[in-house]
Symmetry: C2
Subunit: 479 residues, 2 copies
């Protein structure tokens, strides 16, 4: 495809996306087709001769989009949001067009330097502790996801806990990781990948009201392991747990980590973006204790997946843990020590130019635009929570400090699960569930930039009227 063919086809694809976004609200948010529908509509092999882009776009409409879950739909309230935005898509388009692979500074100086600068911009935007800025020993890097950030933190923690021996001789079964029972599944997965096994992770109990980690339980677990001759290597605290957006008490947890010399990683995948707003920075109090921290601009900061922002307080330690230097990657810039080679900050060798989408987003929206986006999400969640509070058939099951509301029918697990199934079957909204204290709980997470008051109100109306059908008048609790 030559540049002029690309120009023509590119305009058509841009138009296709603009039209898609304009018509999102009219589509069902989830596909109602059974498994195999899309696969059955695709031929068994590629064509022998090439086809025009128009043919592919036609199949995109007839085969692919009817089979999608539309994450950018204003009625998408499931999981956590995976926001994107026009400027993010355009930054990523430039990245695709440049086709730069920035594994080393030498293979893309601007790719590396823009990334360092963007992570400093984000650190300033969230008012992160000075230790994470690149002006000192620390610094930031883009990972694909908070899962990979947790893995990289775990590996560096093992390197530190073993006094540097891990790199040469590997782990043994003495090392332990700690997170609350509400910590994300990726923490367990990271520990498994790093060779600790699922039994190497200690689940720490939470306060039943707040769902936040109990520092006393963490201390007890660490002391028990030490007494048994085991080695506490890493604690992962969460700002905004996946189930309920609970905030672990970082100050108390951090003091314990400092006392016992344990690596503290803070996973703020979803709620980190809240710190863009000064009034929500209480959630990050105590972060100065952390050895590493991450949040996902791809969740709630208008930047398309994948873009996890990960910082460490001591970059040298991270690089020492992860570097492998074969002859074919040696170069003068690396040997000068004056540059960052981000390949040594992550699991894969290769890397895309993801800083571009951050740069486009941060410049298009500006600080005030990003704050307005976060505040809108918080306000929409509060609006919805008010509806829940006002209907005595429903109850909130956890605090809602950010843009996630957890709720259920007082009548129990079974009607609550039926309620979720019925509202999702309408295709107008998509919510998911969790369990809080063992009880079935629905989750409504606001995040799509297209979501407005009327969409939240429509979701509520659907829930309210569906509950009417599920709960006979005389079964309704009276209080």
């Amino acid at each position: 495809m030559d540049p002029e063919e690309f120009r023509r086809a590119g305009h058509a694809v841009v138009d296709w996306i603009a039209d898609y976004w304009s018509t999102l609200d009219a589509r069902p948010v989830t596909s109602q087709d059974p498994p195999g529908t899309v696969a059955a509509a695709l031929p068994a092999g590629p064509p022998t001769a090439g086809e025009p882009i128009e043919a592919v776009l036609a199949d995109l409409d007839s085969v692919v989009t009817p089979g999608l879950t539309h994450w950018q739909h204003p009625g998408f309230f499931a999981y956590f949001p995976a926001n994107t935005s026009g400027p993010s898509v355009l930054g990523d388009l430039v990245s695709s067009g440049l086709g730069v692979q920035g594994m080393l500074w030498a293979t893309g100086p601007a790719c590396t330097e823009l990334e360092t600068r963007m992570l400093d911009w984000l650190a300033g935007l969230l008012d992160l502790p000075e230790r994470f800025h690149s002006s000192g020993r620390g610094g930031g890097v883009i990972q694909d996801s908070a899962s990979s950030a947790a893995l990289v933190a775990t590996l560096t923690a093992l390197h530190r806990a073993s006094g540097g021996r891990w790199r040469g001789v590997g782990v043994d079964r003495r090392y332990r990781a700690y997170t609350s029972t509400q910590g994300h599944s990726s923490i367990e997965k990271a520990a498994r990948i790093a060779g600790l096994g699922d039994e190497g992770v200690r689940p720490i109990e939470v306060d039943p009201e707040t769902q936040a980690m109990r520092p006393a339980a963490l201390r007890a677990a660490i002391e028990a392991d030490l007494a048994a001759g085991e080695v506490p290597a890493i604690v992962v605290a969460t700002i905004g747990t996946t189930s309920t957006s609970a905030v672990d008490p970082l100050r108390e947890i951090g003091a314990i980590c400092a006392e016992y010399g344990v690596w503290l990683h803070v996973d703020a995948a979803y709620a980190g973006a809240a710190a863009v707003c000064p009034e929500l920075r209480w959630s990050h109090a105590g972060l100065e204790y952390a050895d590493s921290y991450c949040f996902d601009p791809h969740k709630w900061l208008l930047t398309g997946f994948d873009c996890d922002a990960f910082w460490v307080a001591d970059a040298a330690e991270l690089v020492e843990a992860l570097t492998v230097l074969p002859e074919y990657l040696r170069n003068a810039a690396t040997e000068s020590g004056a540059v960052i080679d981000y390949r040594d900050w992550q699991v894969p060798l290769g890397r895309r130019f993801r800083a571009l989408k951050l740069w486009f987003v941060l410049r298009w929206y500006g600080v005030e635009g990003l704050r307005a986006h976060i505040r809108s999400g918080v306000a929409l969640a509060a609006r919805f929570a008010d509806r829940i509070r006002a209907d005595d058939r429903f109850e909130l099951t956890a605090p809602h400090p950010f843009s996630l509301v957890c709720f259920r029918l007082r009548a129990g697990d079974e009607p609550s699960a039926a309620l979720l199934e019925r509202v999702n079957a309408t295709g107008r909204v998509y919510l998911t569930h969790t369990r809080v204290g063992g009880r079935y709980t629905l989750r409504l997470a606001v995040g799509s930039p297209q979501t407005r008051d009327e969409h939240v109100d429509e979701a509520w109306e659907l829930l309210r009227t569906t509950a009417d059908g599920l709960l006979p008048e005389d079964d309704r609790p009276t209080r």
Copy 2:
């Protein structure tokens, strides 16, 4: 940014890319600016109020592109190619616009099913063994890179070698991985991440002529480890090593793996694409022994980074090794067992809709178009190798079965290194180096779709005339 603003800005960005591609040949392939140049040109923080896209595009021209290594430049001969193409960029653009996160089938049925189908298309295109097709127990998935593929293979191999105990109790220091001394650094990195330590990897010697693994040396290493009570867990064979594109003898290696029950992973990151052409499939003979296999369409198959295609012969084993299922990811489709959840085939939880770019590429080029691309690379490399052979100051240092040519000045390491430095300093070409049998070797890897006869000829002219300046007439060897 609303859809109409996106449409207007999107056309401008498409035009920017078309213009960039049209002017690539006139740019220096690498930046000659010192470290810090790009960073110094960027403000210390994001703007308070938003800025127009035009301002960002202007800085893209004035700050970013002058600081880049241009991977798509026709004079880019470094490392291995990281090809992209118009249809790949457009497929990725659609993916960005949809903003689908396909961690589960339920979160993007079409994202999952198109990916399964595209990996089957690729398996057919490369004529991979039947065991890797999704119609049986096997199947394919897109990983970000061959590094991650090696990691996932290593983890599944540990799961198998431990009889399933690895998942619960972790690794210990008895497990061993094997690859040739020419195996990629990511294999060592994968073993380190998995907790085996650098000492857990046995480097197997190669034939000095072919640079391919010696099966007898592999057998000896496995037997020595078994005798010492250690557990051989995984062998990684390479089709197309990074230094010289050597091809390990899969049939002999596979038979040894079968005999001792060791997982065989085949890393064909670069050269796998060659199997698109029937006349190059000799390189894949013996692949039916492999438990897993990967190659990178993002290297030599016109698909932008990141896109590693990874197959396993037994998908259930892979899923069992990697799955973690918290309540908030439970859903009816997963529990039906009728769908694939690709999150369980990889390290991160989240995933982009990368199958789209493969779909666009495979349909736009068709089988014949892709074969023509591979054949062009092989022919250009052969053309260059002929020039080397015809000048008795130069010598080839390894066979060139694909599109990589390894060569040096007979005069020795120092003039060879000086030659590389001088030709790269012109900004007209970018080559990298390696060592073969300890001796400094230049590498010229053809891959950019813009590279034509005249670019290879220009590279040769630069090398030849630069050598004139480096080697006084009377120092020239006579043979």
